[in-house]
Subunit: 272 residues, 3 copies
């Protein structure tokens, strides 16, 4: 399986040409599109989506991840190998920052072997390098054949704001707003034990406070009411039942968020 | 073939994780995406799209349909079986209302067999339940193995407004506005015989009337002119040639619509 | 491989039904979606995207291209065959204009064989004709079996504005604005030799002039600065680093563009 994440969008020929470049080498390749809708140039979002998707796929999957505003400049094209045989192909520009938290990356290779790639353009390395390399790897090529190995510790890393807990107050960052408008934080379940001792918290973003009820799932609150829960990926998320929490609260990816016990909680009855 | 309809969108990792959850169980699964772009939480639209798509696929296809605002609450996860072997997987929240008009559903099963699914989260049953069950069914699992059977007549049904004909006037509901802005009604061809005896009708939506010409296809009228026809799915549709009837008329899905013979028709020449 | 370009969008059941109509005939068909997001009714855009994508796929691929506002009218449904065995299926309405510049089309057939298609509706030939024919061709059907051959020179052609060079000034048309906002012209590399003798040009669109720096790739200029380069497809493109040139300049597909040497170039330092 070759699984693909890009910021190519779905209106141009780029996604098709990437698939074509894989199928020219392996017409039997099984290509699974995770998304082509990463915000253009948003390496951080691409990194987040890769880390969320990768653990769901079978071991041995080849992931091609391309968000590459620096295409044609000095950034390295690379292949990473995880201990379970899963492979990652893409530019070394920070895209692999978050997947390294959830997969055990044991080796890394810089793509230099000109025999495996297409004579290289300066602006479309998906077609010329990353697609063909993924196709070869999917057919069983040893990743060491793409070029010299290097220490994965030298991969480019994005800055990340660490989540924190002080008393019963949690602080972190909204790392993603999904299609439903759910606010997904970087606060892990392990920091969120205090959530389950109370019925209601106050979410503060900037200078604005919002009451949020503690729940297990979206349907635990009334329509358009806010709920804070530990989601299926094991992190704290604030959502609205049948509505967009992002729109209701004006919160976006990158915003800092805190969750503090509500003053009168847990004695308060359900909010209106 | 496993065919997929969801409201997951294509910007997040959800569609990819659903595919990954299928491929982990059956790396050879042939997955066909019908759409991930159902309006979030819109069970009615999901139900409509499933009913339109299902008859086009080969008998034996496994359809996974997920529009599931009640995920993690008491609604049942189910598998339905049609007499031709086609299978349907999803939440029992009304999603199967319309497909039951076009496919002969002969048996139904509630998914309770914990050995076939992933330890269940409260918010992502696509990954934990529906994807894995679809993969097992695609590999030939007997649907009776997922859990106890129940009477399909007990499945949750959406309210539906029946179309009607009185004299030569047709009334019904706009059940869908498609990408082109075509207004697709729930009025079947069998009720629309009066259309073909005239050249022009008046479409009334709310308090507004629009002249529409009777045609066989979009190109039968001038650009931006309205045409009423029986479409490829066998229902009455109002479209505009090379333009959006929805934008021209301000009509949306859910609107009630009537089509009455135009006063002066059929003597009137083509409208301007 | 069956590769698909349509204007069906991804919110309706049309793309799924097209896939279903292929899979009913060949459940093993390997379908690659290039895009369903051609602007509705935009034959010119469909033609452009097909010409860009086709050379990237393996020889022998079957391309299904459907942008068909005239569905059900007299325009011919056709199959084209290139000398390398690649096949093209779709309506003869100009869609094949641009692919004929990059592929050697040696024969053409009008689809008339009623045994290969579904009883035909007036509005959905993707499901009834083009999908089934593509599936049969993908399984090895001789294209001559679809119907009588005709001279490819009689295919409908779109008007095209020729690019030109006079002195060091290039003129042409913006044939596409991609997802990143890059302005892709129809000026080929062969006409663009003068670009590389200078550091800066002036792009004129309508009455407005913009300074653009000459580069090899997007990262050669500062963020939000304009760069003109020969892109991976071998044509002149104007882009902005980490931004949308289309938004910055208000330029759209179809606009006429000229690129003239900047007055003071090449002595000018980098623009601010």
């Amino acid at each position: 399986v070759i699984a693909v994440i890009t910021d190519y969008g779905t209106r141009d020929f780029y996604a098709g040409v990437l698939e074509g470049s894989i199928l020219r080498i392996d017409p039997e390749a099984h290509i699974s599109t995770i998304t082509h809708e990463v915000e253009p140039f948003d390496i951080r979002e691409g990194s987040y989506l890769l880390a969320q998707a990768a653990p769901a796929y079978p071991a041995g999957t080849v992931f091609v991840t391309i968000v590459d505003p620096g295409v044609g400049t000095a950034r390295r094209p690379v292949v990473l190998r995880a201990t379970d045989g899963t492979l990652f192909v893409g530019p070394d520009n920070g895209l692999f920052t978050k997947v390294m938290h959830v997969m055990d990356i044991s080796s890394a290779y810089e793509i230099t072997n000109g025999e495996l790639v297409r004579p290289e353009s300066a602006t479309f390395h998906g077609r010329d390098i990353f697609g063909p390399i993924a196709a070869h790897l999917g057919r069983g090529l040893d990743p060491a054949a793409v070029g010299p190995s290097f220490d994965p510790a030298t991969l480019v890393r994005l800055d990340e704001t660490a989540p924190a807990v002080r008393g019963d107050t949690l602080t972190g960052e909204v790392v993603h707003v999904d299609r439903y408008g759910n606010l997904i934080s970087n606060i892990p379940a392990a920091m969120a034990a205090s959530l389950h001792a109370r019925d209601e918290f106050t979410m503060v973003v900037g200078n604005v406070a919002f009451p949020v009820r503690v729940g297990m799932t979206y349907g635990d609150v009334r329509e358009r009411e806010l709920v804070v829960l530990v989601n299926a990926e094991g992190v704290v998320e604030v959502a609205a039942n049948m509505a967009s929490a992002s729109s209701l609260c004006g919160v976006r990816a990158g915003d800092q968020v805190s969750l503090a016990p509500a003053m009168s909680s847990p004695e308060t009855p359900a909010a209106g």
